[in-house]
């Protein structure tokens, strides 16, 4: 999401890096670049002004001018300021000490509240194993209740609803009573999307708030929102006094300036990030990781976490054995491919790897998910024997596989050939140590190889 911004900052700062010492003119031109980039990224004008002012002050200060590597100092400062701008080291949801924790969700139409409710419910269940209930208080949007019931069931949350004829405030109060009776751990209250300038609906929101006394009020904000984000946030802060923000649709390529602005202008932290269509695509928002990602320093922590979630320890050991003894088959490859794909779209994974942000070539090369679909389809059209021993695949078998997967015979040939080459390479790698992220980055050219000093 922040890719373009990080490219610009990196380009600006890589010049500074190479020159060693910083002059005031250098700092000014760097600030100019940063200002432009942030404005283009939809960051609010006021926020940009104060950010670059603070940044310049720190950059001109002694710590940079006298340090041995001012370029790296600037990077460090920008990183710190960006992290600070987006909320420090992350905040938590307030939890109830007795009775259900009540979370109220609010926001504009189409921001993603209902989906976020289900995702949050799932997240809480996964991470705290809580008994979660949802309250359907959007009685205006056609089929909103149906939607919440459906997604609620999918994540194993109980949905309290009274259809669309009851009053939202009453439904909320009734849902809270039920949640208490049934001893739920959490009650998440979904509300209708509303304009911050709609007095009646903002009053309704205030009434719902009064009725259920939430421990947390979350404002759901679409990451592609432009300058308007600040006005919306300020109005909702006044009317509903929200505690935190959920940013949605972060898997898009919107610059995401709204994220930076909302926090700066309202002082409220971004608590969660929704990063995809699936209900699992929901995480705590980590401002420090986001800042690193902006600067092209990669988001390795998120990547590792995702990988750990998918890769079973025992499976990993089995795999290593197979690679060493050359028993790695197309079936194994298919399993690996499925695991990697479960981690999320490859383009977003790439964005998380260190140094990838700076690789313009990689960025413009659209990672072709459909190519992986093809590979999966081809392997799935093979019999188990063929997957175990691709040497079997000749003549009529190739034709059968091509027909079965809707591909051409050349594509089947290509896969078998590439798999053979890959298997050789992996056996070679497995006989030594398994490469770490740094080594993979070097191999793919994403990170520079360490320089060899010549005497």
């Amino acid at each position: 999401m922040f890719d373009q911004l990080s490219d610009r900052l990196q380009a600006t700062l890589s010049e500074v890096r190479s020159r060693g010492k910083l002059s005031e003119a250098d700092v000014d031109s760097a600030m100019r670049e940063i200002r432009l980039a942030l404005l283009e990224a939809d960051v609010n004008f006021k926020v940009v002004k104060s950010f670059t002012a603070t940044l310049k002050e720190r950059c001109l200060g002694a710590e940079v001018l006298e340090s041995l590597d001012p370029g790296q100092q600037v990077v460090k400062i920008v990183n710190e300021e960006l992290t600070g701008l987006m909320g420090g080291t992350g905040s938590e949801l307030a939890m109830s000490s007795s009775g259900p924790t009540v979370i109220l969700m609010a926001g504009l139409q189409g921001s993603g509240k209902t989906t976020a409710c289900a995702k949050l419910a799932r997240f809480l269940r996964e991470n705290g194993k809580k008994d979660v209930a949802l309250a359907a208080c959007d009685v205006y949007r056609p089929a909103a209740v149906d939607q919440l019931v459906t997604v609620g069931e999918r994540v194993g949350a109980h949905v309290y609803q009274q259809g669309t004829d009851a009053d939202p405030v009453e439904i909320a109060g009734w849902a809270l009573d039920r949640a208490r009776e049934e001893r739920r751990d959490v009650l998440i209250v979904d509300t209708a999307g509303r304009l911050h300038i709609d007095q009646d609906l903002m009053e309704e929101l205030a009434k719902i708030r009064k009725r259920v006394k939430p421990h947390d009020v979350l404002l759901v904000v679409d990451a592609m929102t432009g300058q308007d984000a600040v006005g919306v946030a300020e109005s909702f802060a006044e009317a509903a006094e929200f505690d935190g923000v959920v940013m949605t649709k972060l898997d898009g390529d919107a610059r995401g300036g709204a994220a930076l602005s909302v926090k700066a202008v309202t002082g409220k932290p971004i608590l969660f990030a929704s990063t995809g269509e699936k209900l699992e695509a929901f995480d705590r928002f980590h401002p420090d990781r986001m800042a690193s990602r902006i600067l092209g320093m990669g988001d390795v922590l998120s990547l590792i976490e995702k990988a750990e979630q998918q890769i079973d320890e025992k499976q990993a050991l089995d795999l290593e054995q197979k690679l060493k003894s050359n028993q790695f088959t197309l079936e194994d490859f298919l399993q690996q491919l499925k695991q990697v794909r479960k981690m999320g779209p490859l383009s977003s994974l790439l964005g998380m790897m260190p140094g990838m942000g700076a690789m313009k070539q990689l960025k413009n090369a659209n990672v072709d998910e459909s190519e992986l679909d093809r590979v999966e389809a081809i392997i799935l059209s093979m019999t188990p024997e063929e997957r175990a021993n691709p040497a079997l695949i000749k003549g009529s078998r190739r034709k059968r596989i091509a027909n079965g997967s809707g591909t051409k015979i050349q594509q089947v040939n290509q896969l078998v050939k590439q798999f053979d080459q890959m298997r050789k390479m992996m056996r070679h790698m497995a006989s030594g140590k398994m490469p770490d992220a740094q080594q993979i980055a070097q191999m793919t050219g994403a990170a520079p190889r360490p320089k060899i000093r010549r005497r």
Partner: protein, 249 residues
């Protein structure tokens, strides 16, 4: 646009006073916004409208409004195709709008192939001699190439069923969207040959200025604007009104 204005003031064709400059700016903005201006094509038999856009931009609600206007104001018979087979309760949502607008609904099972629902909708409309069929699609981020491919496929399926269709492909853009709107329009246009934009949620405080970039750089005009959540809240796009609103406080 600013450069152009500067030249005109320097050349003397615009008086160098605040009011004159402001008025001229509004004219220029309106001009840019009028690019490729054309009415919605309802000439097909049936006329096929395809609605596309990012999640949450107001596609389904807009379809309800269009259907209502066509049926109530022009007396046309309308069929709606619920080709959003991904989103929970999407068909139920469109069904509600169909009822309000007096249109017929064609739907499939949840998780069904969107192309097949689009196909069925166009087929049903042809068979019943309906005037218009409007096909809803699932919201999708333009960055998801597999979903954009799917959209292109839905379009092909429609064309196969009725050559020349879809006659009008509308992209919904939320007025609160920032610079990303241009990128959205670019990629949706590549996948689905967008004919026009519906600028939604203009009843808020956002002004939707990004449509000017979409008009100027992609030659895609705004055809309709959405101004609320009710059936009546749909209006044709007026470039002058839009330009004036852009500069209003």
């Amino acid at each position: 646009m600013v450069e152009r204005l500067e030249h005109e003031v320097e050349a003397g064709s615009v008086a160098a006073d605040g009011e004159a400059v402001r008025e001229r700016l509004i004219e220029i903005l309106a001009e840019v916004a009028s690019t490729a201006r054309a009415p919605i094509d309802l000439s097909g038999e049936p006329a096929v409208l395809l609605m596309v856009g990012v999640n949450g931009t107001g596609k389904t609600t807009t379809i309800g409004k269009i259907a209502w206007h066509l049926s109530k104001e022009f007396g046309l018979s309308v069929v709606l195709g619920a080709a959003d087979t991904y989103r929970a309760a999407a068909a139920e949502q469109l069904a509600e709008w169909a009822e309000r607008a007096g249109a017929e609904l064609i739907r499939g099972e949840e998780g069904a192939d969107p192309g097949s629902v689009a196909f069925d909708a166009v087929e049903a409309a042809s068979a019943r001699n309906a005037d218009v069929v409007i096909v809803d699609t699932a919201g999708r981020l333009h960055t998801q190439s597999n979903l954009m491919d799917e959209l292109a496929k839905v379009r092909r399926v429609i064309t196969k069923q009725l050559p020349g269709a879809p006659h009008e492909t509308l992209l919904s853009i939320d007025a609160t969207t920032g610079q990303n709107g241009l990128r959205q329009a670019q990629l949706f246009a590549e996948a689905a040959e967008v004919d026009g934009v519906v600028l939604t949620k203009l009843d808020g405080t956002a002004k939707g200025g990004i449509v000017l970039a979409i008009a100027a750089e992609l030659n895609i005009p705004v055809k309709l604007i959405g101004t609320g959540e009710s059936l009546e809240d749909l209006r044709p796009f007026d470039p002058s009104d839009f330009a004036n609103a852009l500069l209003a406080e």
